[in-house]
């Protein structure tokens, strides 16, 4: 991507940013994250359909943040993640510059996050047909069938937490599962332990997950955990009128209003 390389070089040369986060060619026909700190490294930047890792996972990472102002090559899911992170006060205009990559693979520059938000809002979050079909299938199952489905699917999980690590929204320096006094979630990879972990994760991501599939793509055992967050996204749409990350948005699951229409909460 010539435009991106040119822009990255310019940003580093003029010290506008300290690091540009993008993709480079990896091994085994995979692509991977590249952190450009010197102009000559910018030539390694690439962009194509294999570049699906959500790079927003890096912008809250201490090792990257400590370098100084960052620029990031951001596809639509990455931009959505950035807006959500900004609304949670994790990034702002002073530490992040977004180099947008449109769904048509064109570079688009933004002066600030408000412009990124405007761009992102042109697109609705749509669940793809294959996963939609799977969710419909799950919906039609009886409760015991659905229970069996999830027990079976989650059984191989050995809790490597690659799903958590790859998710831009899982930025807590200490996750609930890492507490043992008290122990909220069992450490053990057992039927109950796995179920509790994945349900807890899905609940923590409701109204925050932008449906990028990073968790599923990261899972070394290809467990379809993204179906849980997708289901929560659909439920949020049904009960709360949809979800679109917004800089000054109401946080879907953590907002309390005294005049809530549900009286159980009052």
């Amino acid at each position: 991507m010539v435009d991106l390389i040119k822009k990255a070089k310019e940003l580093i040369e003029t010290s506008a940013v300290k690091v540009v986060i993008g993709y480079e060619e990896g091994t085994g026909n995979k692509t991977r994250a590249l952190f450009v700190e010197k102009t000559e490294d910018a030539d390694r930047l690439i962009f194509d359909s294999r570049c699906v890792q959500n790079l927003a996972a890096y912008i809250t990472k201490k090792e990257i943040k400590d370098k100084g102002k960052m620029a990031i090559a951001a596809t639509l899911p990455v931009m959505r993640s950035i807006i959500q992170l900004a609304s949670e006060f994790q990034v702002n205009d002073s530490n992040l510059l977004v180099l947008g990559i449109t769904p048509e693979s064109k570079l688009v520059e933004f002066a600030n996050l408000v412009e990124v938000e405007t761009f992102v809002h042109q697109y609705q979050i749509e669940i793809d047909a294959r996963n939609k079909e799977m969710l419909d299938k799950l919906e039609k199952m009886t409760q015991p069938e659905r229970w069996k489905f999830w027990i079976d699917e989650l059984a191989p999980c050995f809790k490597c937490y690659a799903c958590r690590a790859a998710c831009p929204m899982c930025y807590c320096s200490r996750c609930t599962v890492d507490f043992n006094q008290p122990q909220w979630i069992p450490v053990a990879s057992t039927e109950l332990g796995n179920l509790e972990w994945h349900l807890m994760r899905a609940i923590h991501l409701t109204g925050r997950c932008i449906d990028c599939d990073a968790c599923y793509n990261a899972c070394p055992l290809s467990i379809p955990i993204n179906l849980l967050t997708k289901k929560m996204l659909l439920d949020a749409k049904e009960h709360f009128g949809g979800y679109q990350p917004a800089l000054k948005g109401d946080h879907l699951m953590s907002t309390y209003k005294p005049d809530d229409k549900e009286n159980f909460i009052q």
């Binding site: 091994t27 085994g28 991977r32 690659a162 122990q183 069992p186």
Partner: protein, 341 residues
């Protein structure tokens, strides 16, 4: 004992499986789910996967389970009563279809569990496993067994090693140990006489990519290298590499309490996790990912050779295949070899 080389016809493999099952043997074999191949307690030969270069997970789960109960406890008026697990309950199993790079890993893992304290539970589980290794006639760009002293037809760690003679051929079965012999006797008709056979020509070609002695020597003076920071920038600090590794042995001991009763369990852990080394004071001696990545490489290529005289890496390449961000251990070892200190 002398290695007994036998012929096992391709159609006899299923018969062998069935005979062992009829003799109430528990067989852990590679099974594929969601496109990933892992070892499972397998009831039928039809479920057993073939054609994989390497399974997604290693077989270490059999002797070092991801979650393992060590004891049960209960508190009462008199104090505390504790009941350890009964080693007699640990079953005899056959581990079917593991690659030579996993079989050699059994010894490497065992050396950790016997370094100073002899881990009774691990040793008991391990002693009850009969290993049916299958040589590799295919490899991929992540394989590097030959760089760490192994090879695609290595017999070390297997009780019986099967080598397929060509894509659709019969098998050479090398009966390597008394344990292997005992199992072979159950199905003696399957193991036919073999005149001559040279297994070498059927093995995958895995070129040597680095010199492991050189790497170990270099690591002695490499602790402060900037290379660790450069390599680990994209590492997200998950435990995928450690959990698929045949020799990673780190664990965490947890109490699972239910009121006054509970169990003490041993669970896998990983040096890649940020909280792995956090002290009770809050201080973390490995507070950045580069220090944790360094630990992973140093442990396998410096500390283990020094203390246990074995490498902590079998060249199976699983960590590189499983990594969600393409941390490729082979690539990183080569760059350690090339970079000037």
């Amino acid at each position: 004992m002398n290695i007994d080389k036998r012929l096992v016809r391709k159609d006899s493999l299923e018969k062998l499986f069935d005979i062992l099952k009829q003799n109430s043997k528990k067989i852990y074999a590679p099974v594929t789910k969601n496109g990933k191949t892992t070892f499972r307690d397998t009831a039928s030969f039809s479920l057993v996967s073939t054609g994989y270069i390497q399974t997604t997970e290693s077989s270490k789960d059999i002797s070092f389970p991801r979650t393992e109960k060590l004891l049960d406890y209960s508190k009462n008026k008199e104090g505390m009563s504790v009941k350890g697990i009964d080693l007699k309950d640990i079953p005899e199993v056959i581990l079917w279809g593991i690659r030579p790079c996993d079989a050699i890993g059994i010894g490497e893992l065992g050396s950790i569990f016997n370094w100073d304290y002899k881990d009774e539970i691990y040793n008991n589980r391990s002693s009850k496993v009969t290993v049916f290794g299958f040589s590799c006639n295919k490899s991929d760009e992540y394989c590097f067994c030959t760089s760490v002293g192994g090879n695609p037809g290595n017999t070390e760690g297997s009780d019986i090693l099967f080598t397929r003679m060509g894509e659709d051929g019969d098998y050479i079965a090398e009966i390597l140990t008394e344990k292997g012999q005992a199992v072979a006797e159950i199905a003696s008709g399957i193991f036919e006489r073999l005149e001559t056979a040279d297994k070498e020509k059927f093995l995958a070609d895995v070129p040597v990519k680095f010199n492991h002695n050189e790497i170990s020597e270099k690591l002695d003076k490499f602790f402060e290298s900037k290379e660790w920071v450069d390599q680990s920038l994209r590492c997200l600090g998950c435990g995928a590499c450690a959990y698929v590794c045949p020799t990673c042995a780190c664990f965490d001991i947890e109490d699972e309490a239910h009121g006054k009763n509970g169990s003490r369990v041993r669970c896998w852990d990983s040096c890649g996790f940020s909280h792995f080394t956090v002290h009770t004071s809050g201080h973390n001696p490995r507070d950045v990912q580069s220090a944790r990545w360094r630990q992973r490489i140093m442990h396998k290529f410096s500390y283990m050779p020094e203390r246990l005289s074995v490498y902590g890496c079998t060249g199976c390449g699983r960590c590189s295949r499983a990594c969600p961000v393409d941390m490729n251990i082979l690539e990183h070892l080569i760059s350690i070899q090339e970079v000037t200190v």
